[in-house]
Symmetry: C2
Subunit: 259 residues, 2 copies
Amino acid sequence: MAGTNKGRGADGLEPAPAVILVKPQLGENIGMVARAMLNCGLIDLRLVAPRDGWPNANATASASGATVVLDQARVFDTTADALAGLQSVYATTARGRHMTKPVVTPRKAAAEMRLQIAAGAHCGALFGPENFGLDNDDVALADTILTVPLNPGFSSLNLAQAVLLLGYEWYQSGDVTPEKAMPFAGDAQPAEKADLLRLFEHLEAELDDAGFLFPPEKRPTMVRNLRTILSRASLTDQEVRTLRGVIVALSKGRPRRPR
Amino acid sequence: MAGTNKGRGADGLEPAPAVILVKPQLGENIGMVARAMLNCGLIDLRLVAPRDGWPNANATASASGATVVLDQARVFDTTADALAGLQSVYATTARGRHMTKPVVTPRKAAAEMRLQIAAGAHCGALFGPENFGLDNDDVALADTILTVPLNPGFSSLNLAQAVLLLGYEWYQSGDVTPEKAMPFAGDAQPAEKADLLRLFEHLEAELDDAGFLFPPEKRPTMVRNLRTILSRASLTDQEVRTLRGVIVALSKGRPRRPR
């Protein structure tokens, strides 16, 4: 796929926002931006007057294989040129700009972009040079300001990390991974309650035999506490078998009470 | 503050999760981790057997001033040693580990950590070395697996970026920035409706005079369309005055219809 220019949607990826780097300085940062973009399914990279020209070997070296993004990157002379074709533009800034313009978080920007793209529109985000960020004339070209809420005492992000945070929110906004899952190793399954009950009874029988569940008036509480521990572990069928083996192993050779 | 070890809560930051880097290789990456941590209000950095020893000048060079994190970093021989004092540990992995252990997204992990810390518990996240990630024995020490949903065709994150995504979610989970805000430049305020109406009427009077709102049967629709455009712009009081000046300037010297 590298070397061809399929535009948005190449590599089997969905249509996604463009990333526009204005006057980026270090090729290494451009490469890390490409990597962060591809991590998040973004492939439309636009470069406005990159300081060291284009292509840039340092970018390739730091892209960790995200060459599909670099190979399709387009270079423009001005920010205005780079915005052609886009219908909605976000300007990423760390500080306020004294402009009466909406300011959104990356999460909100991603949600808005998702709606825009679903409606067939093309959108993108501007990122300024490493040292000073976007100038106010570039910000004025954007519809919306994007600011990442961060530690106010130390909020300056590396360029690739700023791109990553928007890309991350973009990817999450379209992702269906459950926030919490419990996969089972191999072909294990959650233990069936009857098997779990036999484990409880096996353990309790051995502990009765060993004189541990004593005195009798405390036995019900002790049994409940042990059953609570084992229930909370959400055991699999295989783990129930393992623990029954553990009980047998620990009990082996122990003197038995006469029944 | 640099050089002292105040542990969690130093620098006026709230108690926050620890970041444990297992066998990190490049000092540069450790420095970028420190920067990403401080961006997100994290300061408890623990290093397990860093390859190039500690302290590391490359780490300092790439931390962009996050020295408070590096100066307080603690070094341990083993992962188990580094986990002492923690009550809940997340293992960050990009791939499944065939362990029956809960798997959460960064957003869910951050929400869980927020609850744990609010309850007085100490928690942290493990990150493996740059080349191979955590080994299975380290993952087995964790309560929960943390996996970032990303482009499955290109999901390998740089170490500092993996830390950033958890830190970002941590910071967002405690942040109250509105997802969308409209700040006003200077002491501007949203325009009052009576002033907006005077703008409409001023424009419409000049357009009547110029013969633009013609023929008469189309005038109501044309007026509504213009009012819709100007309403959608959510003008400030200052902007209303600016636009009235624009109308005056454009109309200056235009031949007038006799009234």
